[in-house]
């Protein structure tokens, strides 16, 4: 477009130079994670500090894993994420389908309602949620966490699905109806297979969100056997007696890297889902 009108090699160099400070700041936490997670215990609190450890202490990962039963936290996180994603899709697909295919009176009101649910942060409702689940006698379990997280992620998923559903031509469904398929059959056998790419992208975004969730879990979960990864790391970093930063950084790396890779692959789908359908 022409902010810089020079030749491409010079422009490339200039662009990279201008972005370099920010990129360095973005990479810095990863450097800290790696540098700390791979050093022996007695090289943590040293002054002056250094980046490279005397040897690669890979045993930090296994030590950390067994000392805090990290596998349980991984399983807890996977459980909450899977349950939330399933619930979001189960409830979100019909909603998005209705929004894209039907014209009903309170369509805009429903969309505004969804938008509000997206804007309300869990922290504002934390006390109300806590009291609700105490009242229901359903506290300190992962199931309520999955339900609440699903509800807070529903709006984003519905809008993302809605945007994609609207691009699927109606003719295909209409053809199925002419051939005698019922609405339900055509939805399940014709429409959803066509929407599969959108379904998987939505599922993966929800997965990343749930995987990283902190406030709801912090509020509704008490005992450490139910800790998810962010809660486990938070607990490790809140230990008043000893902060084993080499273990904490190993834990952060294990929890972060897979999701980072997944997210990097997903980011190209982001723009549309974020704004395009927020209110229509």
């Amino acid at each position: 477009m022409g902010l810089f009108t020079r030749s491409r090699p010079i422009r490339s160099l200039l662009c990279w130079l201008l972005l370099a400070p920010l990129i360095a700041l973005n990479l810095f936490p990863f450097a800290v994670m790696l540098s700390t997670a791979l050093r022996p215990r007695d090289e943590i609190f040293i002054n002056p500090q250094r980046w490279l450890p005397s040897r690669l202490a890979v045993e930090n990962f296994s030590d950390m894993w067994t000392s805090v039963d990290y596998g349980a936290a991984v399983l807890n996180s996977l459980y909450v994420a899977a349950a939330s994603v399933a619930l979001v899709l189960l409830v979100g697909i019909p909603s998005a389908y209705a929004l894209s295919r039907y014209d009903f009176r309170w369509k805009r009101k429903y969309q505004l309602f969804l938008l509000i649910t997206q804007m309300v942060s869990p922290i504002v409702l934390a006390l109300g949620l806590f009291r609700l689940f105490v009242w229901l006698g359903w506290i300190d379990s992962l199931d309520p966490v999955a339900i609440v997280v699903a509800a807070f992620n529903l709006a984003f998923s519905v809008m993302m699905l809605f945007n994609y559903f609207s691009t699927i031509p109606r003719d295909i469904e209409e053809a199925a109806w002419i051939d005698g398929a019922s609405a339900t059959t055509s939805l399940i056998r014709i429409f959803l297979p066509l929407a599969l790419p959108a379904l998987s992208v939505t599922a993966m975004f929800t997965f990343v969100e749930v995987w990283n969730e902190f406030v709801i879990t912090l509020t509704l979960v008490r005992s450490s056997e139910h800790f998810t990864l962010p809660l486990e790391v938070h607990a490790l970093a809140s230990n008043l007696y000893e902060l084993k930063w080499h273990h904490i950084m190993a834990a952060v790396l294990v929890a972060t890297l897979p999701v980072t890779v997944l997210f990097m692959w997903l980011q190209r789908y982001l723009v549309g889902g974020m704004t395009a359908g927020a209110v229509k």
């Binding site: 994670m33 504002v124 109300g128 002419i178 902190f214 990097m264």
Partner: protein
């Protein structure tokens, strides 16, 4: 969003074909409404229960005296509201929330705009650069904050080490030791993690500006700064507005960075409303006051949301 379909009967399978025989438009309409209703009902129920019920509970709690253990004692009118408004910590947190939100949103925007413009240029390795810019988005805020807490350690932190190496400072700094410095650092980290979202949003806006607008501008002599000032900026404005409102909402609500780095300390000096609220509710057991603060924050968010919805509609009508 309304699509015209030539044969309306085909649009609503199952219902209209049967009910439409006598040309009963009323039944026709009702059926359409109820089918859509059944489809959105699960989503409506889920969100109404998870988001609606807690609000009712908060309203109910806000008007009662509550024991430390959460037992509702007696109706006490606006006593909890009066308690909140008499608490100097509330005003301190409120003021800090305003500073926090304004500084983070403004800082984010000022940095994201040039970054988005650069990423919109055609240069070698652009896709990779974009990945690196979006990197912080993929990491949970809790994890990011934990890493920074260690990196900012005064004696052994790698951030001081890096600054010493680069010759920017010559003695280590205790970043989280005093409230004003800790708060400044938290604002900087919040800006850093807000940039990816904002850049993505602005890139979406930039890509929607068609190339021929610039060509037409170039014919009229608008190139470089002129084309930016008179073409890019006005066309990007709706996206900037949306970025501001969304960031205000997210930053206003942001909890993990401050909670993990300082828990609002030292001496409540970095508390914003969300951390103040969380302490009231889950540390000090002042549930009546906590409900009042929750409701006030909810009201503020509602206003922001309406502003956002209005901006969105204006963008779509334009």
């Amino acid at each position: 969003m309304r699509e015209r379909v030539s044969n309306p009967i085909l649009l609503y399978p199952g219902g209209p074909a049967k009910a439409g025989e006598g040309g009963l438009r009323g039944i026709f309409r009702m059926f359409r409404v109820s089918r859509a209703f059944w489809l959105i009902l699960p989503g409506l129920l889920l969100t109404a229960l998870v988001i609606g019920l807690p609000i009712l509970i908060l309203i109910w709690t806000a008007f009662h005296e509550v024991s430390r253990f959460g037992v509702l004692l007696s109706f006490n009118g606006f006593a909890n509201f009066a308690d909140v408004f008499a608490d100097p910590l509330f005003y301190a947190a409120l003021l800090r929330t305003i500073v926090w939100t304004a500084a983070v949103v403004l800082g984010t925007l000022l940095l994201s705009l040039p970054v988005a413009l650069i990423l919109n240029e055609d240069f070698a390795g652009r896709g990779f650069a974009r990945l690196l810019i979006l990197l912080p988005w993929s990491v949970s805020l809790t994890m990011t904050a934990v890493v920074w807490r260690w990196a900012l350690n005064g004696q052994s932190g790698l951030f001081n080490h890096l600054l010493l190496q680069l010759g920017i400072i010559d003695t280590p700094i205790e970043w989280l030791g005093t409230a004003p410095l800790a708060f400044t650092v938290q604002i900087a980290i919040a800006i850093l993690v807000s940039i990816p979202f904002t850049v993505t949003l602005l890139l979406g806006g930039l890509s929607s500006i068609a190339g021929d607008v610039y060509e037409a501008g170039a014919v009229d002599g608008a190139t470089g700064w002129k084309s930016f000032r008179h073409i890019t900026l006005p066309l990007l404005k709706p996206f900037v507005n949306i970025a501001i409102v969304l960031n205000v909402i997210y930053v206003f609500n942001s909890f993990p960075i401050i909670w993990v780095l300082t828990q609002g300390g030292p001496a409540d000096g970095t508390d914003i409303l969300v951390t103040y609220l969380y302490k009231l509710a889950f540390k000090f057991g002042q549930l009546g006051k906590a409900s009042v603060v929750s409701l006030m924050m909810f009201a503020v968010l509602l206003i922001f949301t309406v502003v956002y919805a209005a901006l969105q509609m204006r963008r779509e009508e334009a």
